[in-house]
Symmetry: C2
Subunit: 478 residues, 2 copies
Amino acid sequence: MAKNDKMVKAITSMDEDFAKWYTDVVSKAELMDYSSVKGCMIIRPYGWAIWENIQKILDGMFKETGHENVSMPMFIPESLLQIEKDHVEGFAPEAAWITHGGNDLLEERLCVRPTSETLFCDHYKNIIHSYRDLPKLYNQWCSVVRWEKTTRPFLRSREFHWQEGHTIHATAEEAQAETVQMLNIYAKFAEEFLAIPVIKGIKTEKERFAGAVETYTIEALMHDGKALQSGTSHFFGDGFAKAFGIQYTDKENKLSTPFQTSWGVSTRLIGAIIMTHGDDNGLVLPPAVAPIQVVVVPIASHKEGVTEKATEVYEGLKKICRAKIDNSDQSPGWKFAEYEMKGVPLRIEIGPRDIENGECVVVRRDNREKVVVKLCDLETEIPKLLNAVRDGMFSKALEHRNSATYDAKTLDEMTKIAETKPGFIRAMWCGDRECEEKLKEVAGVSSRCIPFEQEAISETCVCCGKKAEKMLYWGKAY
Amino acid sequence: MAKNDKMVKAITSMDEDFAKWYTDVVSKAELMDYSSVKGCMIIRPYGWAIWENIQKILDGMFKETGHENVSMPMFIPESLLQIEKDHVEGFAPEAAWITHGGNDLLEERLCVRPTSETLFCDHYKNIIHSYRDLPKLYNQWCSVVRWEKTTRPFLRSREFHWQEGHTIHATAEEAQAETVQMLNIYAKFAEEFLAIPVIKGIKTEKERFAGAVETYTIEALMHDGKALQSGTSHFFGDGFAKAFGIQYTDKENKLSTPFQTSWGVSTRLIGAIIMTHGDDNGLVLPPAVAPIQVVVVPIASHKEGVTEKATEVYEGLKKICRAKIDNSDQSPGWKFAEYEMKGVPLRIEIGPRDIENGECVVVRRDNREKVVVKLCDLETEIPKLLNAVRDGMFSKALEHRNSATYDAKTLDEMTKIAETKPGFIRAMWCGDRECEEKLKEVAGVSSRCIPFEQEAISETCVCCGKKAEKMLYWGKAY
């Protein structure tokens, strides 16, 4: 067990230094490596496989709801970015600019897309003429670039991978319904597949996406009590369409302006998984997106028949889940630590005595619970255990969120909670931007969202004491 | 049938103007749209769905042979690109350069990756220490940028999508075997799934990838007699590893230098499909990658029971293939033309009389053959018919290639063939670069490859008349 101990000690404890723990985990679990381009990371096979699993599930959900994938150019001409006023103000300051193609100076600078609303609008203008052309429900999987000053793997990097949905509709109602539908898909995905409980709500004007009429968000609470915005869905009204001159002939043969949405989730979700579920032994991965769902570790594999039986078990499991067998010459202890670090949901230990008894030991990563399972029952028990792991992870995360959610009625209360108790703070707000800014200044918290599920905590704004009807979630955030 | 005729006439005939026919098809079949960034295109849902099908099949073939996907940054610092001398000479002249992040001038220019050898080498240097770390069999799906002067949809664009495999091995033999293995996978994919016959061979030094020791290629012949390089696989020897200082401790505890490969296919394959199989009615898609494999068109759908029966047929087919039903109010003739334009492999026509007889008419896109199929046999017959379409397309393309492949023994013969008969020219070559350049100058042809399957056409070089042992394929190329 020496190697095992060494491995465990190789990462910083969460409680000691959460930021250090995080960077230790992403490196040791081989999710990423730093590249020679500052602020851009290499996503290694184990990390990319998680993203591929996320993509596959979400892409299926998008296609089921009638969305189609497209591919836009990665560049935006400066003049195109400038068409919508709020949008350019939000994104130009952190754009990466191409000035030369080969040795030639370009006539017009191009930025690498920070987001693609302008490109989609430009395309929609070309292809939408009649009400028959509506709606268009498009999505693309790609990477985008925002020249951030400070970066952290998966949470904030200059290039990041995401999907961006861009839809266009005949009516505002239809576009609004789409915005909410996509938020609900994100919430369902986060909770059911990633085992991450989320708060669904609306952003304040201050936190709104540049150019949006309304931004919907799902907010998750990380282990250290900081919030993570985990997915957003924007209703644009007809602002972009008007700025870009997109019009269509409606059923009454009149020219009308359509309504738009956009929505996205990114590799940030991998950061959310790490910081919601991880522990001092490393990653804990939700079974739905784990690259390896079950690892088979033979015990005393030099003994006759062990490797054979373990392989037989593995071959059976391979048909029903993402399984792996580790026949390497490392010690079982080393292997236990390795697959705990990598967050593999279930570990199967199988040695000579187990084989004699026709059974094996299944160890859950989420709570280290050991279950003895008859080998003949394995293929029916493993799917149940994988579900149990997901449920266990969700309950634990929900409990943590509940225990780290506080109510504040006065500025004084809010400041004290923010100083001493990391977590969400629920408090009433009058709707004034000044109060929102003061809370940031005094208590160091930002508004996370106006949740769909409202509850009157008091009758007055936590900041100014004026009458207030909206309850908001506040917190420190990534 | 008026609309039908109009539709058919809407594209230029292939024989009249092949280039115009091509751009007509990519637009009318809604594969792409031009973007406001010169030389970059928008890939529309129907085009992107073809690429997704290509990706899915190839990705499966890569994973079956032990490859893992990763994601590298899209930027390369100028100094990193410059490390391997031949490589930088090949790619720097057409690189797109980032000079500013937001308002700040970057300390060092970054280019948008034209290909990622340098990024992979930089990463390998970090993660490879011992023979235990070898081989690494990595691949990534992404887009790359090369600032080309003249562009054409799918064939040559400033940004294009591809996969790039990058592997690193302990021995030269292993790396060479990988290079050939991947070429064989490309050839199998092109022939079996895309129904495109290809010539497998080696590039001459002149046509080699910048930095490679050997470049392997698959070459296809388009309908107009021009060649299209459709996939390449490169053996790098230890050149990149030495330039980047990648070393590992071998089993004898000595420092050794590893060997590398890279290999790629791109959205060019969509261009290959169009120009190999298309006709004056539009696209003809290979069933394996067709977004819609079977379209059901109800005839006289106002008659009782037609829509219901057609829908029943569609529901059954949906379970076994990518099926679609068109219940729109367009005329059957319009629909026939529309799905012919889109290259849908099989069309099912079903009207009142068919229903009475318990049958339907299945029309093949590749040869317009009509088959009457009993409705009860449909689900067993459709897969067979899809295979027959693939086989028919392959035979037709192979016949075309055979009939457009000529042998030349003298420069005079070669020049005449090149002038009058579009196609491949097989001719002997002494191995001198001067002869290769002269053939380009005089006959306007470039060497396509030194095929694996050799045949002695004569004993002397087609250009200089000196003794020659290598038979090459030559031709005009995209």
